[in-house]
């Protein structure tokens, strides 16, 4: 049972990791906690849902579209809500992104209602010894690894990616070196929301969801971010795997409803003891 639960948990952990990576990237680059993260995950789910049920597109192909829309949406959100308060105290950016959260949820509820949706898509399953795995879960995990690899290539091999890292490191210095900081910030924000949308899309291929479903994944992303260290994409993926693993292991020896209790207690303890994250460096 332990093996079966752990496998399930870890496969899910890859997807959690992608969601947290988006949050972590934005946090690391511009020191903003994006409270509109959850609704964007939900929008990613609905993107896949609409493409699949409305147009009959393959979910994995539609993921490309969802990613592109997510990127643009993020840049727009940055321009409309974040840019003006980027240098203001934390409260301002927290509330500005929360306002975006309310707007998305409000409009989303009006358009989609809060009724649960289901992407009726299946790739079948296969058995490994005593455990049965769904191909959709495996595909989602593979997609998550692919996205992480691409993100690393982008950040370390392209000019724009290097600029992002430079801005994250020292915004003022980067500007002096001729990097257009505002543009880079907007793009990073877009990248972060893109990752959130992708993770939502992947989740939609195997779980039912509502427009409010992003909230719980947003909270999980917070936990993962402090586990993996802020602003560290690989840390986010590892943090995701740790959380997924815990979600797999904890139910084997106690009631499943205790999982969130332990998760959040762990979260608070790590914040108190080592706010830079378990895997983070010194701050």
């Amino acid at each position: 049972m332990l093996i079966a639960s752990l496998t399930d948990g870890l496969l899910l952990g890859f997807v959690y990791g992608i969601a947290a990576m988006g949050l972590s990237l934005i946090w690391g680059v511009m020191d903003v906690i994006n409270l509109s993260h959850g609704p964007i995950i939900a929008l990613g789910m609905f993107g896949i849902y609409l493409a699949f049920t409305g147009l009959g597109w393959n979910p994995y192909l539609s993921l490309l579209l969802v990613a592109a829309v997510g990127l643009l949406l993020g840049i727009m959100i940055y321009g409309a809500a974040v840019h003006r308060v980027i240098n203001a105290p934390h409260l301002s950016t927290l509330l500005a992104t929360f306002a975006v959260n309310m707007i998305i949820i409000g409009i989303g509820t009006a358009v989609f209602s809060t009724s649960p949706r289901n992407v009726d898509f299946s790739l079948g399953s296969f058995s490994l010894g005593s455990i049965t795995l769904l191909w959709t879960r495996v595909a989602a995990a593979l997609a998550a690894v692919l996205v992480t690899a691409l993100l690393y290539l982008f950040l370390y091999r392209t000019r724009l990616g290097k600029s992002i890292r430079a801005v994250a490191n020292n915004r003022a210095a980067a500007e002096l070196m001729g990097i257009p900081a505002s543009w880079v910030l907007a793009f990073s924000f877009g990248l972060g929301t893109m990752l959130a949308a992708i993770s939502g899309g992947l989740i939609a291929t195997f779980f039912p969801f509502t427009i409010l479903a992003g909230g719980s994944y947003e909270l999980k992303s917070f936990v993962i971010c402090v586990l993996g260290g802020l602003g560290n994409p690989l840390g986010a993926l590892i943090g995701g795997l740790i959380l997924g693993g815990l979600e797999g292991i904890i139910p084997t020896f106690m009631e499943t409803t205790w999982v969130p209790v332990l998760e959040f207690i762990l979260f608070v303890i790590i914040l108190l003891v080592k706010p830079s994250g378990l895997l983070g460096g010194e701050t």
């Binding site: 020191d31 906690i33 409309a80 809500a81 003006r84 308060v85 203001a88 105290p89 934390h90 409260l91 301002s92 927290l94 509330l95 500005a96 929360f98 306002a99 975006v100 959260n101 309310m102 707007i103 949820i105 409000g106 409009i107 509820t109 009006a110 209602s113 909270l219 917070f222 936990v223 402090v226 009631e255 409803t257 205790w258 969130p260 209790v261 998760e263 959040f264 207690i265 979260f267 608070v268 914040l271 108190l272 706010p275």
Partner: protein
């Protein structure tokens, strides 16, 4: 200046009393009592949050945890041990204050966003824990036996008692909020808000000051929780630890103007009235959240000081009255 000679105090108190008396003169008493109850609850929650958020500058996103915990403890006493309301309310206050005191020592070391995240974590942990805590009914919560209301002279009477207690409590919160703001203690808090390190150097014992501000801002939500769930007759974890309500409270403080006494009062009254109207209209029912979101965004981006702050800066003469 002596506090009672300050017109700002009288303005705030008069407004609160006027709001509280409205159901007595309104045509449909029961309905206006319900509406006013919701407004007063918001005013009390926002004003107590303001002591921490507005004066001290610490953003507690999960402040509703005190409302929920106080509510749960009070409700437990009333439903399981048949305690009367006047025992349950102070018990709720005591437990909330105690939790804040214990937590405060630990999490108030965190600054800025880390503190905000920790408060979210604590609220979620509390909710998940209560869901598993059988003495409090676990996931299905608890209900009051209906005969409990009879000992208050029938349900009608009980609802009025809950309402009157809340009104008195709201006046008390505003009074405390005013006294803190004009006291030396409050000055220390505001020094922490502006620059914590500098405040420390100037001789403010910051850990103590912060902890007491946290305790003070936690005690009132605990009592409001007891009154609210007494009126509702039942309590469940998602209603008690509703993160969304917590964040709405921040919105109300910001709307009115944080760090002022009048601001949270004004902000909550406006926000609740708006929400109440939008809620039952078929056209706006779903969009109300989006409207509130747009409003919040506009405030953050363009009038970060809120209604009161903006009035104060536009009309300097009003500063004497608008505390």
């Amino acid at each position: 200046m002596k506090p009672w000679r300050n017109p700002g105090l009288w303005l705030v108190l008069t407004l609160t009393v006027a709001i509280s008396l409205w159901p007595l003169v309104a045509a449909n008493k029961a309905y206006s009592r319900e509406v006013t109850f919701t407004i007063l609850k918001a005013v009390a929650l926002a004003s107590s949050l303001n002591i921490l958020l507005g004066y001290t500058g610490y953003v507690s996103f999960g402040h509703i945890v005190f409302f929920g915990l106080g509510g749960y403890v009070g409700f437990y006493l009333m439903s399981v041990h048949n305690a009367p309301l006047y025992v349950a309310v102070p018990a709720g206050a005591l437990v909330s204050g105690l939790l804040a005191f214990l937590l405060g020592k630990a999490i108030l070391r965190l600054r800025g966003a880390y503190f905000a995240l920790a408060t979210i974590g604590i609220n979620e942990a509390a909710r998940a824990f209560i869901k598993n805590f059988e003495p409090f009914g676990g996931p299905i919560g608890m209900s009051l036996k209906f005969k409990v209301y009879k000992s208050y002279g029938g349900p009608e009477q009980a609802l009025w008692i809950a309402f009157a207690s809340l009104a008195a409590l709201t006046v008390a919160v505003l009074l405390v909020s005013f006294l803190v703001k004009t006291s030396r203690f409050g000055l220390g808090l505001m020094a922490i808000r502006e620059n914590e390190d500098a405040a420390e150097v100037m001789g403010v014992i910051t850990p103590n000051a912060k902890t007491w501000a946290y305790v003070l801002s936690a005690v009132f939500p605990g009592m409001v929780g007891v009154l609210f769930f007494f009126k509702n007759g039942n309590i469940e974890p998602p209603d008690a630890f509703n993160l969304h309500q917590s964040i709405e409270t921040i919105v109300m403080v910001m709307l009115g103007g944080y760090g002022t006494v009048l601001g949270p009062l004004l902000g909550s009254a406006i926000y609740q009235r708006l929400r109440g109207l939008l809620l039952v209209s078929p056209l706006f029912k779903n969009i109300q959240l989006a409207v509130a979101g747009v409003l919040l965004l506009l405030i953050i981006l363009f009038v970060p000081a809120g209604v009161v702050g903006w009035l104060r800066s536009r009309f300097p003469r009003l500063r004497r009255v608008l505390e």
